[in-house]
């Protein structure tokens, strides 16, 4: 049982408020990812859960029991650190067996459990080596093994992939996903990389400045961001934001007036906005297409060709540059004139205060809980 709940949790270092009031529920078997820009407090939040920092106010409950004052090793958790934090003077076997040794588990059982975890992570040949004789990927597996052997109810990961090179990162990401599948344990994972968040998470918690911006499944965050920050954070390349004004509102949605006068219909609720109000139109690069009759026009200033797709940077006006993802076979070049359009129901409208106007219908993937 690994129900974890945070109720109005805050953390201050002296006069500095890092965590300003977090309410969150994490369910059993969930893979929950804390994501956000540097300094948003995600690592601090993880450390509060781990027990490495003291909670200033609020309650942390694990499996129904309040654990604010419970030492880290008695909370049923295990942590994988960003720098792996292996004990440099111990062999891999001793590293993994250390927690068991402290818990006074007999030698024979300790060895058996170490062998089993080593087999799971393919560390068998390295058991007698010291960390300095291992590669980065191997060290990371030892760090994971050290956590697994404690058979915790919740795993905590603090940016575990950030010290790996790009290729190894992709491979290890997949291994982590399969590990979660296999062990079925609850996992809380901190990262600044939204690709890791999108691919691994059952539930993503987007944090900014010590507060939660939005909690939801990856598809919920992608298709229905609640505010401008979440819209701009999830998705790579970033969502484009174009200043616009509200035209008319109706039961079918809101009509947006783009710079240059062109109009677009977006199926969002116009209840909170008035005609003439300034808003921002949010459109992801993958939802913009080259269209000879499109409402947006400008000059191509950069064309990034990746082979399968090309990212075209179009200057609509001196202070507005949008990125559009077009097919890799497109022959568009720098200095060309381009016209772009987007499908209405793939667009988002953000009011002046940053909140998103709610969509009138849910995206099918979200409606089916995928």
């Amino acid at each position: 049982m690994a129900n974890l709940s945070l109720k109005n949790v805050t953390k201050s270092f002296g006069a500095l408020n890092i965590i300003k009031g977090i309410d969150l529920e994490i369910n059993d078997h969930e893979f929950c990812v804390f994501v956000g820009p540097s300094g948003c407090g995600k690592s601090t939040l993880l450390r509060l859960i781990a027990g490495l920092e003291e909670i200033t106010s609020g309650d942390l409950t694990i499996a129904g029991k309040r654990v604010n004052d419970v030492p880290p090793d008695e909370r049923g958790l295990a942590m994988v650190f960003q720098s792996y934090a292996l004990y440099p003077h111990m062999t891999v076997r001793e590293n993994m067996g250390f927690a068991l040794k402290l818990a006074k588990v007999p030698q024979a059982e300790r060895d058996a459990r170490v062998e089993k975890v080593a087999e799971l992570l393919e560390l068998g040949p390295y058991l007698e080596r010291k960390p300095k004789a291992l590669s980065g990927g191997q060290r990371q597996r030892v760090a994971i093994g050290r956590a697994i052997i404690r058979e915790p109810s919740i795993f905590l990961f603090d940016e575990p992939l950030s010290n790996l090179d790009a290729a190894l990162r992709v491979q290890t990401r997949i291994e982590l996903a399969r590990l979660h599948e296999r062990l079925g344990s609850t996992m809380i994972y901190v990262t600044h990389d939204q690709v890791e968040a999108m691919t691994l998470a059952d539930k993503i918690v987007v944090l900014k400045d010590g507060l939660i911006e939005q909690v939801g499944t990856p598809m919920e965050l992608y298709h229905h961001p609640k505010n401008r920050f979440v819209g701009g954070f999830i998705g790579s390349p970033k969502m484009n934001f174009i200043k616009a004004r509200v035209g008319t509102t109706s039961a079918d949605g809101v009509e947006i007036i783009l710079p240059g006068g062109a109009k677009m219909a977006v199926p969002v609720s116009g209840a909170s906005v008035k005609t003439g109000e300034s808003v921002e139109l949010g459109v992801r690069p993958e939802h913009l297409q080259l269209d000879e009759h499109g409402p947006l026009s400008g000059t191509v200033i950069v064309a990034e060709r990746l082979g399968a797709e090309t990212f075209v940077h179009v200057e609509l006006s001196p202070d507005t540059i949008v990125i559009a993802q077009v097919d890799g076979g497109s022959t568009i070049r720098v200095h060309d004139q381009a016209r772009l359009s987007a499908v209405g129901n793939a667009c988002h409208v953000f009011a002046a205060d940053g909140t998103a106007l709610p969509a009138l219908t849910q995206h099918p993937l979200v409606a089916k809980h995928i």
């Binding site: 490495l52 880290p72 934090a85 292996l86 004990y87 927690a99």
Partner: protein, 270 residues
């Protein structure tokens, strides 16, 4: 071309300095094997004799003083480590706003000349019955070396990444377990250098040991001083006594010189 000339000059300077620094010790060693007559006039050729060593030993009990030195050096080092390890742990891993000030203040107490507190210390030792006792000297040496011991341990502990100790906490290690299984094994070279330095400082400490001890607890420094008497300086005997006093520490320093150098240059080269 320039490089080899530079290293030649560096080599010459290095060797010259080493010879200059070592010469007094060398001369002392040579003089200790001379007869008294030969010792008065500096002479290079002489007939070596062990007479001075026998005389020295018959007048004062070398082994008694040597044992005092050993007990006082090692005893005070152990006590300094027992206090210094937790102190350095706190400064390195749980620093507060005032930690740096505290460390600098501790070091500043070493800048004061010891003679300034000679009278109060003497009176306190007399009233506490600690004059001429090994315990008294151990406590005094510990207090004197504690700033250096804490500073050195602090700098070695700072080289240990905090996540390693946090991983230990997650595995269930509290303070003493962390010390025993994680921190001490990792910083063992640093702790060894610190201990060696402390032993050397205690062994060579002359001011307090001469003022606060006599025949009972006097270490080898007192042994040497007892040979520089108003009757006149018996160079050969003095040299023999001095050689006997510094020989143990010189040998120990020679054997552990690599550790010592590493310890003394802590943090200087990252």
């Amino acid at each position: 071309m320039n490089n080899s000339r530079n290293s030649l000059i560096a080599g010459i300077i290095g060797w010259t300095s080493a010879i200059v620094m070592f010469f007094p010790i060398f001369w002392m060693l040579v003089t200790s094997f001379k007869s008294e007559i030969d010792a008065v006039v500096p002479s290079i050729f002489f007939k070596p004799t062990l007479q001075s060593y026998f005389d020295v030993n018959s007048r004062a009990d070398y082994l008694h003083y040597a044992w005092n030195s050993v007990v006082e050096s090692i005893g005070s080092t152990i006590l300094a480590l027992m206090i210094g390890l937790p102190a350095a742990y706190a400064c390195a891993f749980y620093p507060g706003r005032k930690t740096k000030d505290l460390l600098l203040w501790m070091l500043s107490t070493k800048m004061m000349p010891a003679v300034g507190v000679l009278v109060p210390m003497y009176l306190m030792f007399r009233d506490a019955g600690l004059l001429d006792t090994r315990l008294g000297l151990v406590l005094l040496f510990t207090g004197g070396n504690l700033p250096i011991v804490i500073w050195m341990l602090y700098s070695f502990f700072k080289d240990v990444p905090t996540p390693i100790l946090e991983a230990g906490r997650m595995d269930g290690a509290r303070f003493w377990t962390q010390m025993r299984y994680i921190l001490i094994p990792i910083s063992l070279p640093g702790i060894a250098s610190t201990a060696l330095l402390s032993i050397i400082l205690c062994w060579n400490e002359a001011f307090w040991s001469l003022n606060l001890s006599a025949s009972q607890a006097g270490p080898l420094t007192a042994f040497i001083a007892s040979f520089s008497s108003p009757e006149g300086l018996f160079w050969a005997k003095l040299s023999a006594a001095s050689t006997l006093a510094v020989a143990p520490i010189l040998i120990m320093g020679w054997i552990t010189q690599r550790q010592l150098v590493r310890g003394l240059t802590f943090g200087a080269v990252k």
